[in-house]
Symmetry: C2
Subunit: 168 residues, 2 copies
DNA sequence: ATAAACTTTCAAAATATTTTGAAAGTTTAA
DNA sequence: TTAAACTTTCAAAATATTTTGAAAGTTTAT
């Protein structure tokens, strides 16, 4: 397979995976494009390569910066802004884990904790089932939370090394 | 907080989390409703409790069965079908992990492996950057894959126990 | 101060996803 | 049979999300 075709396939696959996991397809594609670009790109280049509008490119790039996945670069003597993606995949994974934890898991944990205070009759099957499901999900979510927190702080080789030492 | 309010909050929170993670909001809500229901429910009851149409309920319930999260139950002398949710949260988590791995991660791993065969000039920065990103993502994805495979086979207490023994 | 170069905004349009509900299909009891 | 009870289907409608692009805004050089 040729490089150009490979790049295209990569961008498509990344976009598809993103959309299946609740991340805007275009955002994932712009990120993929920057990941395979050795040099920083301008908005114009990104628009052209992915056939997207200026507005879409601008918003998407802003979001990616908000996720901590890309950065703006300036070049001496030039007005244009260039965008460059962090290439360290473990750093990217940790960044995504951290952001999603903050935006999505933490709010749910908050609700689950509140739901621990729901009062009711211990004899009532409805109450018992509610309690059990909420408590069990809360425990699971806390374990996931704790693991993500560890991951976000960890070195890649240490993290996987530790995991596979046990999961051999 | 009262039970009725708690149930409502739980269903909403679960629906929101689902939609953020690429799972249809209604599907997550129906699942949440069944999770807090001690008894199996009929389509009619689910339609009423969540104010959704018959068609929507039917499709959603079919999907949930496809995910292995609920089952149909029949009662002697009754024509109606009842739906009951598995309540073991660890089993649910493993089931979801297994399905999403199969539907989403495995296809991407296949593409990433194919992209390992892309030919090019080792001196070309474009080629080098492409190779590095694809290779690194592939390694990460394989580690995730391996961890999920272990998780899907594991007992809950063993799994978390092992993780936290190291991540203390 | 002006204007060219560039970026941002956001209402409207396009697209994608979800939901509806009536009709068609199926099963069971009599 | 037949008809009541129940389930499934799917085209159309509703809703939600994404994208567009022209206008407004900003920055810089002169």
């Amino acid at each position: 397979m040729e490089l150009a075709e490979g790049r295209q396939k990569f961008i498509e696959a990344w976009g598809k995976l993103g959309s299946e996991w609740g991340i805007n397809r275009t955002m994932a594609q712009v990120h993929a494009l920057l990941l395979v670009s050795p040099e920083a790109l301008t908005t114009e280049e990104i628009m052209a390569q992915l056939s997207i509008s200026r507005g879409n490119a601008n918003m998407t790039l802003r979001d990616l910066i908000g996720w901590g996945l890309i950065e703006k670069q300036h070049r001496a003597g030039e007005r244009k802004e260039y965008f460059y993606a962090e290439k360290d995949v473990w750093l990217i994974a940790r960044q995504v884990a951290q952001e999603r934890k903050k935006r999505e898991l933490d709010p749910v944990l908050k609700v689950l904790n509140e739901l621990g205070n729901v009062k009711g009759d211990e004899k009532d099957p409805k109450y018992k089932t509610f309690k059990k499901s909420v408590t069990d999900i809360n425990k699971l979510a806390k374990n996931v939370d704790r693991t993500l927190t560890t991951m976000v702080k960890a070195e890649e080789s240490w993290f996987w090394g530790s995991i596979f030492k046990i999961f051999k």
